[in-house]
C-alpha cells in the first residue's frame, strides 16, 4: 500500500496535469455512483409550474421545457454516460486487445484473416458504424454499449498486436516455449502481462472517445432513449425549441468536455510514464535542450 502511494505521489509530481485529470476523473466517477444522494431533485419529475426557468436559487442550473431540474439531470446523466463508456471500453477494447495478443503471438493464417477483419472494421467512421449497429439492434442501453464497443475492437487489435509481436521474440518467451509451456499458457502468463500497460493507455483514451460517441448518438436521437437523462439527450432536448435556452445547451456540454478532458489528460500521463519515448521530457532531451 505504501509503495502504491509513493508511486502515485511520484506520478503526480512528474505529471501534474494528468494527476489533476485523474483526480477529476475520480470525482466524476464518485458523482456517478452517488447520484441519488447528490441530485437535489428527481431527474425525471416534471414540474409544470417551473418550466424553462433560468438558473436561480431553487434550481441552480435552471429547468428544462417540462420543468425538470437541469442539475439533477446532469448528475444522473453522469451515471448513464460513464456506465455506457466504461462498459463499452471494458467490452470492446478488452476483446480487441485479447484478440490482438492472439494475433501477435500466433501469427500465420489466423493473424492474416484477423487483420483483414480489423481493416474492415476500421474502414467505417466510428460514429457512422455505431449509428448503423444501434439502429439494427434497437436503441436501448445494451444496444448503445454494444454499438460503441464494436467500434473500439480494431484499435485494441492493432495496437496490442504490435506489442505482442515484439514480445513473442524475447528470450524469456522463448524459454517458456522451450520448457514445454502450452501456447495458451505462454500467451496468458508471459505475453499478456506485458500488454497490460499499453492496454491501460488505450482504455483511458477510449473512455473519452466512448463518451463523445454516446453523447453524439443521444444528440442525434439514436442513443439511449429518453426520458433517461444522458448528456447527449439533454443537448438534443435543448434545441427542440425555436430559441434554445442557453443553460440547457451549456451545462451538459460542459460536463462532456470536462469528463473527456480529464480522461484524456490521465491517458497522456499514463502514456508518458509507461512509454517515455513519447514524453515531452525525452523530446526536449532529443532537441538538445538549447531552446528551453
Amino acid at each position: 500500500m505504501g509503495a502504491v502511494v509513493t508511486e502515485l505521489v511520484r506520478f503526480s509530481r512528474r505529471n501534474t496535469l494528468s494527476a489533476i485529470g485523474g483526480f477529476v476523473g475520480l470525482l466524476i466517477i464518485f458523482v456517478a455512483l452517488a447520484a441519488p444522494f447528490l441530485a437535489p431533485r428527481d431527474p425525471l419529475k416534471a414540474d409544470f409550474r417551473r418550466m424553462n426557468k433560468p438558473p436561480d436559487a431553487q434550481s441552480l442550473l435552471g429547468t428544462d421545457q417540462v420543468g425538470r431540474d437541469t442539475l439533477s439531470r446532469v448528475i444522473y446523466g453522469t451515471r448513464t454516460s460513464l456506465f455506457v463508456a466504461f462498459s463499452a471500453v471494458l467490452l470492446g477494447t478488452t476483446v480487441g486487445s485479447l484478440w490482438g495478443v492472439a494475433c501477435g503471438y500466433l501469427r500465420g493464417r489466423f493473424d492474416l484473416v484477423s487483420q483483414r477483419i480489423m481493416e474492415i472494421l476500421q474502414a467505417f467512421p466510428d460514429l457512422i458504424l455505431a449509428m448503423a449497429i444501434s439502429m439494427a439492434i434497437g436503441t436501448g442501453l445494451p444496444a448503445v454499449i454494444f454499438a460503441i464497443a464494436i467500434t473500439r475492437i480494431p484499435f485494441g487489435g492493432r495496437v496490442i498486436r504490435s506489442v505482442a509481436l515484439s514480445i513473442r521474440e524475447l528470450p524469456y518467451v522463448e524459454a517458456g516455449r522451450a520448457s514445454g509451456g502450452s501456447t495458451l499458457r505462454i500467451m496468458a502468463l508471459h505475453v499478456l502481462p506485458q500488454c497490460i500497460a499499453p492496454y491501460l493507455v488505450l482504455a483511458t483514451t477510449h473512455l473519452g472517445v466512448a463518451i463523445v460517441i454516446e453523447a453524439a448518438l443521444g444528440f442525434l436521437g439514436v442513443g439511449v432513449p429518453p426520458p433517461t437523462p444522458t448528456w447527449g439527450n439533454m443537448l438534443a432536448d435543448s434545441i427542440t425549441g425555436l430559441v434554445p435556452p442557453w443553460w440547457l445547451a451549456l451545462f451538459p456540454g460542459v460536463a462532456i468536455t470536462v469528463t473527456v478532458l480529464a480522461f484524456n489528460l490521465l491517458g497522456d500521463g499514463i502514456r508518458d510514464t509507461l512509454d517515455p519515448r513519447l514524453s515531452p521530457a525525452f523530446l526536449r532531451m532529443m532537441a538538445g535542450g538549447r531552446r528551453t
Binding site: 449497429i133 442525434l220 473527456v260 531552446r291
Partner: protein, 318 residues
C-alpha cells in the same frame, strides 16, 4: 511504385468488398425481421401476414439474402443505389443533391485544420515550453476534448442572440449562389477544422521536435544557417509525413463528426440524410450511405499512403 500502387488499391477493393458484406449483414440479419425494423414492433403486429408478404416483396426484401446482396451490387453498378422506402427518390439522387454541401464542409475543414494546426505546431516547436507553446498546447488539448457538435450548438446559439442567424432551410449549391453557400458551410467547416487542427498542431509539434534533434539539423545549424531556415527548410519537410497520415486518419473523424455537426448547425447535408434514414429505419438508404462513407474513408487513406510513398522513397522501394 507501380507494384506498390496496384497492391494498395487491390487491398482497398478487398476491404470495401468486406465492408459491403458486413453492412449488408448488419442491416438484414441482426434485426431479424426487417419489417419490424421499418414499421416498429407495433406496426408490424397490426398487419396481416398477407400484407407483410406483399410489402416485403415490394421492397425486394423477400428474396433470399444472397440474391438481395447481388441485387444491391447491381444497383450500385447501375449508379442508382436503390430506392428509399419513404421517399420517391433513389439514394443516388439524394447523394447528388446533398453530397456537395457535405464535401465542401469536409474540404473546408481540412483547409482550416492545416492553416491553423501547422503554424501553431511550428510555433510551439520553435520555442518548446515557452508561454506561447503552453497556450497552444492547452488549446489543442481543449479542442480535442470539446465535442464538435456542442461547439456548433453554442456558435448557433450565440449567432441567434447576436446576429439573428437563421438555420439554412434549403440547399444552396456553390454554383447557384457562392455567397449563400459559404454561409451554410462555413460554421461546420470551422468547427470540424479546429478539432482536426488541434491534432495536427500536436502531431507537427512532436514530430518537429523529434526531427530537430537529428544529426542533419545539427549540421545545418553548424554551418551557420539561420534558425528559421533550419526549421522551415530542413526540419519541416521531414516532419510532415506523420502529419499527413494523421490528417488522413482524421478524415474518419470528420466524416462521422460531420453527421452530428451538420445536425447542430441545421445544415441539410449528407449527415442529415443519414440521421433521418436511421431514425426512419430506411435500411436501403442507410446501407448505401454507410458504404459511401466507408468508400470515401478508404480511398482517402489509399491516397495518403500513395502520397507517403511518393514523398518518401524508402517506402516506395521496399
Amino acid at each position: 511504385m507501380q507494384k506498390y500502387l496496384i497492391r494498395r488499391v487491390l487491398f482497398a477493393v478487398v476491404t470495401l468488398f468486406g465492408v459491403s458484406i458486413s453492412i449488408f449483414v448488419i442491416m438484414r440479419v441482426l434485426p431479424g425481421d426487417p419489417l419490424v425494423a421499418i414499421l416498429g414492433v407495433e406496426g408490424h403486429a397490426r398487419m396481416t401476414p398477407a400484407d407483410r408478404e406483399r410489402i416485403m416483396a415490394d421492397l425486394g426484401l423477400s428474396a433470399p439474402l444472397p440474391v438481395q446482396y447481388v441485387r444491391w451490387l447491381r444497383d450500385i453498378g447501375s449508379g442508382q443505389l436503390g430506392k428509399s422506402f419513404f421517399r420517391g427518390d433513389t439514394v443516388a439522387e439524394q447523394i447528388m443533391h446533398r453530397g456537395p454541401i457535405s464535401a465542401e464542409i469536409a474540404i473546408l475543414s481540412l483547409i482550416v485544420s492545416w492553416l491553423v494546426g501547422l503554424p501553431v505546431g511550428i510555433l510551439s516547436a520553435f520555442r518548446p515550453n515557452s508561454i506561447p507553446d503552453a497556450v497552444a498546447r492547452a488549446l489543442s488539448v481543449l479542442f480535442i476534448a470539446i465535442p464538435g457538435f456542442w461547439l456548433g450548438m453554442l456558435i448557433v446559439l450565440a449567432s441567434l442572440f447576436w446576429f439573428g442567424y437563421k438555420t439554412p432551410m434549403v440547399i444552396v449549391q456553390l454554383w447557384q449562389n457562392p455567397w449563400e453557400n459559404l454561409q451554410i458551410v462555413i460554421g461546420p467547416g470551422i468547427v470540424l477544422g479546429l478539432a482536426q487542427g488541434a491534432y495536427i498542431a500536436r502531431m507537427s509539434r512532436s514530430c518537429l521536435l523529434e526531427v530537430i534533434g537529428e544529426d542533419f539539423v545539427r549540421t545545418a545549424r553548424a554551418k551557420g544557417l539561420k534558425e528559421g531556415l533550419v526549421v522551415m527548410r530542413h526540419a519541416l519537410p521531414n516532419a510532415l509525413l506523420p502529419v499527413i497520415t494523421i490528417s488522413g486518419v482524421l478524415l474518419g473523424f470528420v466524416l462521422g463528426g460531420s453527421v452530428a455537426v451538420e445536425q447542430a448547425f441545421g445544415v441539410p447535408g449528407l449527415g442529415r440524410a443519414m440521421v433521418s434514414a436511421v431514425i426512419e429505419r430506411d435500411i436501403i438508404v442507410v446501407q448505401n450511405l454507410v458504404l459511401l462513407y466507408a468508400v470515401i474513408f478508404v480511398l482517402v487513406n489509399v491516397l495518403v499512403d500513395l502520397s507517403y510513398a511518393w514523398l518518401d522513397p524508402r517506402i516506395r522501394y521496399s
